[in-house]
């Protein structure tokens, strides 16, 4: 089963790698680049929102910070167009992450409801700073990025595509690794019952902050690539609340807390959004449709596609095997103690006195599925 999964992932990866070579139409590859970029943001965001349950509705601020960092470095260090800017991406991501730490610390001092609102407020603060710190950001005039002149025609999108793909792969690896680590388990415990987790020794403050910063890291990296891709950035276009909502929606749609859910969500949402903006951006239909989809997803599929499919699959299997749900009432066998529990093992009989109750299957009552 696990091998099947691995093979599947490798196949998908291979497809992703050859995709732009096969579908060379620049419109298609452009949408693909955006999709990959936002899939990376979504995957990173999921580490915070999905694993710990702290929904940050302003994390796109760090996308913007990464974008501006990229633009500023290119400007001040006279970086020419070409492959060099890509080397700056890790640096810009790091900056975004570092900026996020004090902000995250402030925001995480409150519990979930207020946290959400604070992240929104912080987003607007950063947007305002982008407008007002004119000496740094050039205000509403925006900043330009170097333009790679020798990437002609349909080739232009390729470096961006692969850069974004690499970012996405890294994000997925990090997400997967966290999911299986003690750190990730702590985050999940926080999501279920933060106080209990704290009481059991989970370092909740540090864990949440780390997740916050990691999410900011990937948002920043994606923002840097995005900025370079679109060639010029303005406070209005980079700090766009709709980006933020789109990312959150992607994760919810695909499945909050799953590893591949955000990617699935991005695959569905981003092309859709691009299409809508193109067709209907003028008059407002795009907002209506987007909002409508949003509503539908929230009301019908609140858990997202993958978890819902997972549930259906489980139910199907349960029906097929006809599990007997009725467990033996109070059947228990008192077993031997694990030797470790505070006693010396020198020469004592390990098994505790036993009493065999009527039905021998499980302790406890039946399980409610």
């Amino acid at each position: 089963m696990k091998i099947l999964k691995m093979v599947g992932v490798l196949v998908l990866l291979a497809c992703a790698i050859i995709f732009p070579q096969v579908f060379t139409d620049p419109t298609v590859t452009t949408i693909a680049v955006f999709t990959l970029i936002f899939a990376a943001v979504a995957t990173g965001w999921n580490i915070l929102g999905g694993y710990s349950g702290y929904i940050s509705l302003g994390h796109i601020a760090y996308f913007g910070i990464g974008a501006y960092a990229m633009a500023l470095f290119c400007l001040h260090w006279n970086i020419p167009g070409g492959y060099e800017p890509f080397l700056l991406v890790p640096l810009t991501a790091l900056i975004a992450a570092v900026v996020s730490i004090p902000l995250g610390w402030i925001a995480l001092r409150v519990r979930r409801h207020t946290f959400i609102v604070i992240t929104i407020a912080m987003f607007f603060i950063i947007q305002l700073l982008a407008y007002n710190l004119i000496w740094l950001t050039n205000g509403s005039t925006g900043l330009g990025l170097p333009i790679p002149t020798d990437w002609g025609g349909y080739f232009f999108n390729y470096p961006f595509y692969y850069a974004a793909l690499i970012l996405l792969v890294i994000a997925v690896l990090v997400s997967w690794w966290i999911r299986n680590s003690k750190f990730g388990l702590g985050l999940l415990a926080i999501r279920d019952d933060e106080d209990r987790a704290l009481g059991l020794g989970v370092k909740t403050v540090a864990s949440k902050l780390a997740a916050f910063a990691i999410a900011a890291f990937f948002a920043g990296a994606a923002g840097a690539i995005y900025a370079y891709f679109v060639e010029s950035i303005y406070p209005a276009t980079i700090f766009d609340p709709n980006f933020d909502v789109a990312v959150v929606l992607m994760v919810f749609l695909g499945g909050l807390g799953t590893i591949s859910g955000p990617i699935l969500g991005a695959l569905i949402m981003e092309p859709l959004q691009q299409y809508l903006n193109l067709q209907y951006g003028e008059n407002g239909y795009n907002l209506i449709i987007l909002g409508g989809i949003f509503l539908l997803v929230m009301l019908i599929l609140p858990r997202g596609i993958l978890p819902t499919l997972g549930d259906l699959w489980r139910k199907y299997r349960a029906m097929r095997e006809q599990d007997t749900a009725v467990q033996a009432e109070e059947g228990m066998v008192i077993t031997a103690l694990p030797g470790r529990v505070g006693r010396s093992t020198a020469g004592r009989d390990e098994s505790a006195p036993t009493a065999i109750a009527p039905n021998q299957n499980e302790p406890g009552e039946g399980i409610n599925v």
Partner: protein, 243 residues
């Protein structure tokens, strides 16, 4: 030797004096019961001992060390575990994952390696076996029955190898057979050196299990002794009936 003791602990909630100069002492290696009518302050005492509430005055000592107002995680790390009246497990995590949350790791490297490392995994499985939940190890804990959740809570505290366990109404809402099972588990652990302090209303359970019982009333201890002594104590009777 006194393992856990409180000295003149007071705690008020608004106008209500929950704990009134309460001093108790729990002997190492004992199974001590804590009973009293509703509102006598038993759960509040638990809460201050385990760091879930701050005291207004008084001292709390564990293994000779003052732990007054320490945070819950510190208290847990020092070796005092507790369960809750309404079970608190992590519903969306599997039973096995629940076990691992409490497994302590003190180094940074440990934080980032897999949570199901061999040594902890073995221990977690042993403990699940001890409480009889092995078959459900991959079920989301939210799917367990109430009694099973109690057992799970019990088990994952054990993974940290606490020296004293505070049980807050373990018998509440649990059927007799399960109760017997729980009693046997407690006794087995006690034989291995774990001290217990149990708050409970179920008299049969308490009298049958505990070697020593303390009675609280209106925020302070009014009686103490063996089950026989306590049962015969007129002050205890008055506390229960008088209110």
């Amino acid at each position: 030797m006194s393992l856990l003791e409180t000295q003149d602990v007071t705690k008020a909630f608004g106008g209500i004096q929950a704990l009134n100069s309460c001093s108790i002492s729990v002997e190492q290696g004992s199974i001590t019961g804590l009973i009293g009518p509703n509102g006598s302050g038993k759960t509040t005492l638990f809460n201050v001992m385990t760091g879930y509430e701050r005291v207004d005055g008084g001292q709390i000592r564990f293994e000779g060390r003052t732990i007054t107002n320490a945070s819950p995680d510190k208290v847990f790390r020092l070796g005092m575990g507790r369960t809750f009246q309404l079970t608190r497990v992590f519903p969306r995590l599997t039973v096995l994952e629940n076990m691992h949350v409490a497994a302590q790791r003190n180094d940074l490297k440990g934080l980032f390696s897999r949570w199901s490392s061999t040594h902890e995994q073995q221990r977690a499985l042993e403990l699940l076996d001890f409480v009889g939940l092995t078959k459900h190890k991959n079920l989301p804990a939210g799917n367990l029955s109430y009694g099973q959740k109690k057992l799970l809570e019990f088990a994952f505290i054990l993974i940290a190898e606490p020296r004293v366990i505070l049980l807050d109404e373990p018998a509440g809402g649990v059927n007799p057979t399960m109760l017997n099972y729980l009693t046997s588990r407690i006794r087995a652990l006690n034989e291995r050196g774990v001290t217990f302090l149990i708050v409970e209303h179920n008299m049969e359970f308490v009298m049958g299990l505990c070697s020593r019982i303390m009675v609280m009333h209106r925020g302070t201890k009014i009686a103490e002794g063996t089950p026989v002594e306590v049962r015969a104590n007129p002050a205890v009777l008055e506390a229960y009936l008088g209110d």
